[in-house]
């Protein structure tokens, strides 16, 4: 049996609208510090979370809001946390990078790569205490160079742990292009540990759902871990207020100032090397802008296209989701 695309669409839309509301509160200064969104990753979260049951666990990275929203955590509790309230889901202690829900066996961390070992531990506990239950680790392509994550791949294979390792590959680690600092190929790398590795279009929720099903079934049968490489694009850049995407003159000057100052400075690299550095900075900015304005790989758009035949039903879902989010925001702010 295939996935229920309507359900998946609803989940993805809930997450999108929720994070749009978060963006608004962040812009208004109601949320402090950094804010990493999962906008662009919704199909990956939805296609995987749809397979989870009671007793399954999730280890999330710094971009953990969508899986929590889809797992059924109370939205206003998440918002209260982001607003820094004592009655938020983590009593105002955690914030968006450190979200925990014990009932949902879900933990997040801002330490890149740490979802691997934590998920391996969740899976070990499942092996002992809840046979048939599994753990999922969500992380980015940048994390694929973190030793502890790679070590946890080996651990999971050696101990046949029921884990699904999910790499959300947007090809960036903040302002670094992953390919620039990564050797070999990520699928091959995962395979070399001795687990199946599947590559999927992370904008296609059905593809994610199908691949996840294989990995989840394998884990539930106690056959060990699976690695998923899901390609995606995140239009908002690394986090809200991401410097290359700001439109103000002030930030332009902030970015260009040091370059103009350094380019002609006496003593340093050869003119050729300086031009090469300048070239790579410009191409990174160019690439960031292209991703911001390309709608092509938006997962919501993708699934909506599949469902567009039933306009009325789409409208109904959209209205319901809008209302749910609006009410959650109102409750959180009241």
């Amino acid at each position: 049996m295939g996935p229920d695309l309507w359900l998946l669409y609803r989940q993805m839309l809930r997450s999108r609208r929720f994070e749009e509301a978060v963006t608004d509160l962040w812009q208004k200064g109601r949320i402090s510090g950094e804010m990493h969104l999962g906008i662009g990753e919704e199909a990956i979260a939805a296609g995987i979370v749809a397979h989870l049951q009671d007793g399954d666990a999730m280890a999330l990275d710094h971009r953990g809001t969508p899986p929590l929203v889809m797992r059924g955590v109370d939205l206003s509790l998440i918002l209260r946390e982001f607003l820094g309230c004592a009655d938020g889901i983590c009593c105002g202690m955690g914030g968006h990078m450190h979200l925990f829900s014990r009932e949902h066996l879900t933990a997040s961390s801002g330490i890149v790569g740490s979802a691997g070992p934590i998920a391996a531990g969740f899976a070990l506990a499942a092996q002992h205490l809840r046979p048939g239950n599994i753990a999922v680790a969500f992380f980015g392509d940048g994390a694929m160079n973190q030793g502890m994550l790679l070590e946890s791949f080996n651990l999971a294979v050696a101990w046949k742990l029921p884990v699904l390792f999910v790499c959300k590959d947007n090809e960036w680690a903040i302002v670094t292009r992953s390919q620039h600092v990564t050797g070999g190929n990520l699928l091959e790398r995962a395979r070399s540990f001795g687990m199946p590795a599947l590559e999927i279009d992370g904008a296609d929720v059905e593809a994610v759902w199908n691949a996840a099903k294989q990995g989840v079934d394998r884990a539930r049968k106690n056959n060990g871990p699976t690695f998923l490489l899901a390609r995606c694009i995140r239009p908002e850049g690394h986090f809200l207020g991401y410097l290359p995407l700001r439109r103000s003159l002030e930030s332009m000057i902030g970015m260009v100032g040091p370059i103009m100052h350094s380019l002609p400075a006496r003593k340093g690299a050869s003119p050729g090397e300086r031009i090469a550095s300048l070239g790579s900075i410009t191409s990174l900015i160019g690439r960031t802008l292209t991703e911001k304005y390309s709608k092509r790989r938006d997962p919501i758009h993708h699934v909506r296209q599949r469902l567009r035949g039933e306009k009325a039903r789409l409208n109904e879902i959209e209205k319901e989701v809008e209302k749910e989010i609006q009410q959650a925001v109102e409750r959180a702010l009241s």
């Binding site: 812009q27 670094t176 550095s277």
Partner: protein, 337 residues
């Protein structure tokens, strides 16, 4: 003299060192974006972006330093140093001792530190006392642009491993990147003199292990580093109105500690109040008390520190981090006793 921001001063001194010594190289995550000026001026070979592999690239800095380079390796925040602790604890800090003093590790680990902008307890720690606990590591924590540049130069010139911590409330580029994100709707309690100030026309090294007396005081000595220094200066001004003369000592280097300056100041005032944004227990604040007592100096003692995991919520965060109000209260209490 000219005026410069805290972060610019560090990069400027670093640039001077890179011009003077071709063995100085910079690497770390996103350095081409965080240090664009250096990247463009010195090229990618000397300012090299690294994968998210702290254990490998901090470890590589140790090897590179042993084999002749002078790396300035960046860890994006000191909190993330956890991933690379082995390189510092068991390698950088040990080589000189293990080799009978014959082999040294001239490297600098540069890391932003500190809180006050609502980013939570995994992104706002200070950890200077925790690192200084390890014999063989030098730990530098400047509080203003002039010191920041001069100390960076000495850190690079030093023959052993140095952890160089820049507080994010002082480095305005970091605060903008991580805290405000270009928003005008958020405010942080940023000490103005720390973020921008006069600096020399050409950088000269400031000796490691030398504290600076920023304010003389005969009743009580306030001792701190980084943002804490500015909170102490504010507290001292408030205490003055209450007829309490509070001196302020900026340690500038946590390890090696300027024991002489500390003991001199406390022997004059007879009261020591340590203001430490790092964790209270088993750390810098207790160490300062031990140093003074070991020297046989009688004193009254108090401390204002971070006592637990730093909360994300701004209001709780403010209560937990050392604030001017907490310093004033603690100082008054010490006067009463």
């Amino acid at each position: 003299m000219k005026t410069m921001g805290f972060a610019d001063a560090i990069d400027d001194a670093l640039a001077q060192a890179m011009v003077d010594d071709s063995r100085v190289v910079v690497f770390g995550e996103d350095v081409h974006g965080l240090r664009t000026g250096l990247f463009v001026r010195f090229g990618e070979k000397r300012v090299r972006p690294a994968p998210i592999s702290e254990a490998a690239f901090v470890g590589a800095a140790v090897g590179a330093a042993m084999a002749g380079l002078r790396p300035v390796v960046e860890v994006m925040m000191v909190d993330f140093i956890g991933v690379a602790v082995d390189a510092l604890l068991n390698h950088a800090a040990k080589v000189e001792a293990f080799s009978g003093g014959k082999w040294k590790v001239p490297m600098v680990v540069r890391a932003p530190c500190g809180g006050g902008y609502g980013d939570g307890g995994q992104h706002e720690q200070s950890l200077w006392g925790w690192l200084a606990h390890i014999p063989g590591l030098t730990v530098v924590v400047p509080s203003n642009p002039a010191d920041a540049g001069g100390l960076m130069l000495s850190a690079i010139e030093h023959e052993g491993p140095v952890v160089y911590l820049e507080h994010k409330l002082l480095a305005s580029n970091m605060l903008d990147f991580l805290g405000s994100g270009g928003r005008k709707t958020v405010q942080y309690d940023v000490p103005a003199e720390g973020t921008c100030g006069s600096v020399p026309d050409g950088w000269m090294p400031i000796p490691l292990g030398k504290a600076a007396i920023l304010h003389e005081g005969k009743d009580i000595t306030l001792v701190s580093v980084a943002v804490g220094v500015h909170r102490c200066l504010e507290a001292s001004a408030i205490l003055k109105k209450k007829r309490i003369s509070a001196g302020v000592l900026d340690l500038r280097t946590v390890s090696p500690l300027d024991k002489e300056a500390l003991c001199q100041a406390v022997s004059r005032s007879g009261r020591l109040l340590v203001v430490d944004e790092d964790y209270r227990d088993f750390g810098l604040s207790g160490e300062l008390a031990a140093v003074v007592l070991e020297a046989g100096i009688p004193m009254r003692y108090g401390r204002v520190c971070t006592e637990e995991t730093i909360p994300y919520c701004r209001e709780f965060e403010h209560q937990i981090l050392p604030s001017t109000g907490r310093i004033v209260d603690a100082a008054i209490k010490l006067m009463d006793r």
